[in-house]
Homo-oligomer: 142 residues x 2
DNA sequence: TTTGGTGCAAAAAGTTTGCATCCTT
DNA sequence: AAGGATGCAAACTTTTTGCACCAAA
């Protein structure tokens, strides 16, 4: 499990200053397993600060995504972020379309795919499975 | 290969009126194999019209994506569209990161994946391979 | 003390909406 | 003729930028 220390250390390693805002930001992602929009993050941050500015949150989200502390995705045409998972092996994700929690899926399509056609050189890939997690599956249809 | 008639017919089937704007829009995608931003589409449309409004293009892009005439994707944080491919079998795409052309890849990860963990129910999925196509591979590095 | 980070403000870019008019059906 | 589509304008949201001041190292 990822801890605050891990995130703070990574910030330092990148020569970042560890500000209160960044620590709070990190904590928010630590206690949230699902995706959050910048707006949602800002609102949660606001509970801890008075004069918080949105662009600081925004800048930090971008930066944190850049160094791999968090992951950015576009769900329903909306940009969202979640904590970068601790899983060490290469893996992909199951994403619940209802609660937006994510689950590791240690399986990579490229290990099972045929050779690339058209003399295409693969550099990276994205594989995501959308569906309902155990909890959301059991709830009555909304 | 998809033709203008096919697209026009599909519009009619959905009770749409076939306006010049929509025909031009369709033609633009027919002659472009790569992804286009709404802005790029608008500019190309502008070559055919004088008093063209951006929101008409925008509205039509959204609508055309809704009925599956074109496909929407988010590349580099930017929303883009391309023609929905004619391939009948379920398939995925190789996307060239340089020219953004796409190539069919008739292979589905879910056919080779182990059972979903965590009692997760898969509803849909996304699998895209990013890389360099034959042509871009041969060009000198930019 | 130094320099990067933050807050504030404002601009830029992207997306959506209302409405009178036009044009496909 | 009727109603959906367009053009125009404006609002709204999201993302980006400049700069003075503050604070982490």
């Amino acid at each position: 499990m990822v801890r605050l220390d891990d995130l703070v250390r990574k910030m330092s390693e990148h020569g970042w200053r560890v500000t209160d805002q960044r620590k709070t930001l990190a904590n928010i992602f630590l206690e949230t397993q699902s995706y959050l929009t910048p707006r949602e993050v800002y609102e949660r941050m606001g509970r801890h600060y008075n004069g918080l500015s949105y662009d600081t949150v925004y800048r930090n989200l971008r930066s944190m995504a850049e160094i791999g502390l968090i992951e950015q995705a576009t769900l329903d045409d909306v940009v969202k972020f979640k904590l970068h998972c601790a899983e060490h092996h290469h893996h992909h994700h199951l994403i619940c379309v209802k609660c937006e929690k994510t689950f590791s899926f240690v399986f990579c399509p490229l290990d099972h795919a045929p050779p690339m056609p058209d003399q295409f050189t693969a550099l990276s890939h994205k594989f995501e499975v959308y569906g309902l997690c155990k909890d959301c599956n059991q709830e009555p249809a909304s």
